[in-house]
């Protein structure tokens, strides 16, 4: 039973890992970022490429992926998203287009494959990420065999969630972000540089997705389409938790993960997935703003 609960916790942590960045870009900025999954994918490819070309392991890839995807996010915000604030559906279409561009860029090796040049670690194929020996296998805790890599993901997710909480609730920039969530015009009137804060927030959300990608690369398959299904799960978590609420995302990820784990253990994974969708639909019907909606006037 302990193992089942642990798997549920692990599923929840994976959901949260992807949802953290979304909670910021979607929750705080009102941008439906369909390219979020591709940021996860880029993070995974940073792990692959740094492993091949720099010979470094997964720990080095974490800050590296954060920087790469944050810069990419900054670029996307500056070039496209900035022009679309307040137009929710347009952000969806535009970022979806960006997602396809990024996918194809990786698949076609930034166009080099047309010239017969092959970069190891890119292209349409499946990529391999090697995981250090001490993160493979199990350790025994309280009589249960606990999967080390999953434990590692839970720890990293917890650290990231705490760091995000700290940034949003304990720093000046975070205060400004929260002010912008509540009322962008009033925030601007109080002297907050809304465009600058928005750009940084988007970069932060993208960077978090990049770190999620590094973690995913260690136990899922790395290939250009890998991010697409993840972004759906991420939106489920954010919508159920309540847009703009970090705590909501944490709780809904945990609840969905445990439901998935328990139902899968009792019946099978296909049914578990259906039950998860059912629960999300029920919650959206009963509480349209999610579990932890911001109260406002």
């Amino acid at each position: 039973m302990l193992e089942v609960l642990f798997i549920g916790l692990s599923l929840g942590s994976i959901l949260l890992l992807v949802a953290l960045g979304l909670a910021i870009t979607y929750g705080a900025m009102g941008v439906i970022n369909m390219a979020h999954g591709e940021m996860v994918m880029i993070g995974a490819y940073v792990t692959v490429l740094s492993g091949i070309w720099l010979g470094t392991n997964i720990f080095v890839a974490i800050p590296l992926a954060f920087i790469v995807t944050a810069l990419l996010g900054l670029l996307i915000e500056r070039v496209v998203v900035r022009r679309l604030y307040g137009r929710l559906l347009d952000t969806l279409l535009a970022t979806w287009g960006i997602a396809i561009l990024i996918q194809q860029a990786v698949r076609l090796e930034f166009g080099l494959s047309f010239f017969g040049i092959h970069i190891q670690g890119l292209g349409p194929g499946l990529q391999n990420v090697s995981v250090p020996e001490y993160l493979q296998g199990t350790i025994s805790i309280g009589g249960a065999d606990i999967n080390r890599y999953r434990l590692f993901i839970i720890v990293v997710t917890a650290i990231l969630a705490l760091a995000t909480w700290f940034i949003i609730y304990r720093t000046i920039m975070g205060t400004q972000v929260r002010a912008i969530i509540r009322n962008p015009k009033m925030a601007a009137a109080c002297g907050i540089d809304v465009t600058r804060v928005n750009a940084l927030t988007f970069a932060l959300g993208s960077g978090l997705a990049g770190v999620a990608g590094v973690m995913m690369s260690g136990f899922k398959t790395v290939f250009p389409d890998m991010g697409t299904p993840m972004v759906v799960d991420g939106f489920l978590v954010v919508v159920m938790g309540g847009v703009g609420s970090l705590l909501g995302s944490v709780f809904s990820a945990g609840i969905l993960g445990e439901i998935n784990g328990l139902v899968a253990a009792a019946t099978n994974d296909i049914l578990a997935r259906a039950v998860v969708f059912g629960v999300v639909i029920a919650i959206i019907i009963l509480k349209p703003k999610g579990l932890f909606a911001l109260k406002g006037r």
């Binding site: 391999n128 995981v131 389409d225 299904p229 994974d269």
Partner: protein, 419 residues
């Protein structure tokens, strides 16, 4: 160089007379003088392009090799490549285009059963010919498809008895992706398991492309099985093997015996996760013959990737073009029906060994092999049939070599209904 006027005149006359006599040749539709057009239809984009691009490359390589050695009866093969885009509907449209507009007498293509089923009506209605290179679930008897991959009996009829007798494992946990191929494979497996005195304790499925294996592996762990039979397909394979090791299961105590895990998936997951597990296929990159080693070298040179891996469906994509070439040379005319009649009984020395098209069901005689995966990501072939074995696409429904369901007359449905 000065042009000799007399020679100029003579050449002019020659050219002129060729032009006058040749319109008949030029006007016979697709078959312009000295060339044969064929269709090549694989997904070059979308999720399946990972595998299908390699099948496309192998087909193109075979065509270029045939052209380099003189073509078909002196005619050059011209490949018209189309992109199935990992989408059955697109497959159907592209197949129609190749058959109706380009008037090709043969198309090579498809990886998934879904895409084959999508193009089947096109080829049956127009009485055209399709060459399908992938191992699949059987249960098909089309006169317009030549199947050069393995059918269930060529992957399982050696594998299950071997697991029970040689490995001494009797309790099977069957796991697969949730669609027709793994389900048909499970059906055949259960027949064979019971016949050989084993038992199966679970038969579980996960969505295609699912990569969250925590619960399933935990279930395997608690089930009390002593062997796992995996029909898991695609990128799920990688997540499965990784989770398997990460939950503390080892292949020496509880081996995964797989029917789909190939060199491609092993390379992606990292060989350390698969070391000691088994796969059954007619072809492995590690087959130790000169013809196969040369094939691997040529393929790597062709795709300009010194680390490219070869696998079963890729090898079938390659040798089926040669079987087609032999049939086209034997056939009186280059039409789909003539080629199909000529391909019956064709034999060829492929990288995997001797192959032969069964004259009745148009499937291929292949040599079943079992390999154990080594730390370098290659299989060590530890068991193989001495000779190619007959393809039985209806083995799950009681087909035997002496009682064929699918013959040159078509499917005998009466036999099918009895079971």
């Amino acid at each position: 160089m000065a042009i000799d006027r007399r020679r100029f005149l003579r050449n002019g006359l020659l050219v002129g007379s060729t032009v006058i006599t040749s319109p008949w040749v030029f006007q016979t539709g697709a078959q312009a003088a000295g060339e044969i057009k064929v269709g090549v239809l694989f997904s070059l984009t979308g999720g399946l392009s990972i595998i299908e691009k390699s099948l496309h490359d192998a087909t193109m390589m075979a065509i270029s090799e045939i052209n380099a050695s003189g073509g078909v009866k002196g005619m050059k093969i011209v490949a018209i490549a189309e992109d199935g885009a990992s989408d059955p509907k697109t497959y159907n449209e592209k197949a129609s285009k190749l058959v109706i507009q380009d008037k090709v007498p043969t198309v090579f293509g498809s990886y998934t059963s879904a895409s084959r089923k999508a193009v089947l009506p096109v080829f049956e209605k127009r009485n055209n010919l399709y060459f399908y290179p992938t191992y699949y679930e059987g249960f098909e008897c089309s006169k317009n498809v030549v199947y050069t991959g393995a059918v269930p009996n060529q992957q399982l009829s050696n594998f299950i008895p071997w697991i029970i007798k040689t490995l001494g494992k009797k309790k099977f946990f069957i796991v697969g992706s949730n669609y027709i191929y793994p389900r048909e494979m499970a059906k055949v497996s259960k027949i064979l398991i019971e016949k050989n005195g084993g038992e199966w304790i679970a038969d579980e499925y996960l969505e295609l492309g699912h990569s969250e294996w925590g619960s399933m592996v935990n279930k395997i762990k608690g089930s009390g099985c002593d062997v796992v039979l995996s029909n898991v397909v695609g990128d799920s394979v990688v997540a499965f093997y990784r989770e398997y090791k990460n939950q503390g299961l080892t292949h020496d105590k509880l081996p995964i015996c797989a029917t789909v895990t190939s060199e491609i998936e092993i390379a992606a997951m990292g060989a350390e996760y698969a070391v000691g597990s088994y796969t059954s296929f007619p072809y492995f990159q590690a087959i130790d013959t000169d013809i196969n080693k040369a094939f691997v070298e040529r393929y790597r040179a062709f795709v300009k990737d010194p680390k490219a891996v070869t696998h079963h469906a890729l090898e079938s994509s390659y040798f089926q073009v040669f079987l087609w070439k032999q049939a086209a040379e034997k056939a009186a005319e280059i039409t789909p029906v003539a080629i199909r009649e000529a391909v019956k009984g064709q034999e060829f020395d492929a990288p995997n060994g001797h192959v032969k098209i069964d004259p009745d069901n148009l499937h291929t005689y292949l040599t079943p092999r079992i390999a154990q995966w080594l730390p370098d990501g290659q299989g060590k072939i530890i068991d193989a049939y001495k000779e190619p074995t007959i393809p039985l696409p209806y083995v799950a429904y009681g087909e035997t070599p002496t009682n064929l369901f699918c013959t040159s007359k078509g499917l005998e449905t009466a036999k099918l209904n009895k079971t």
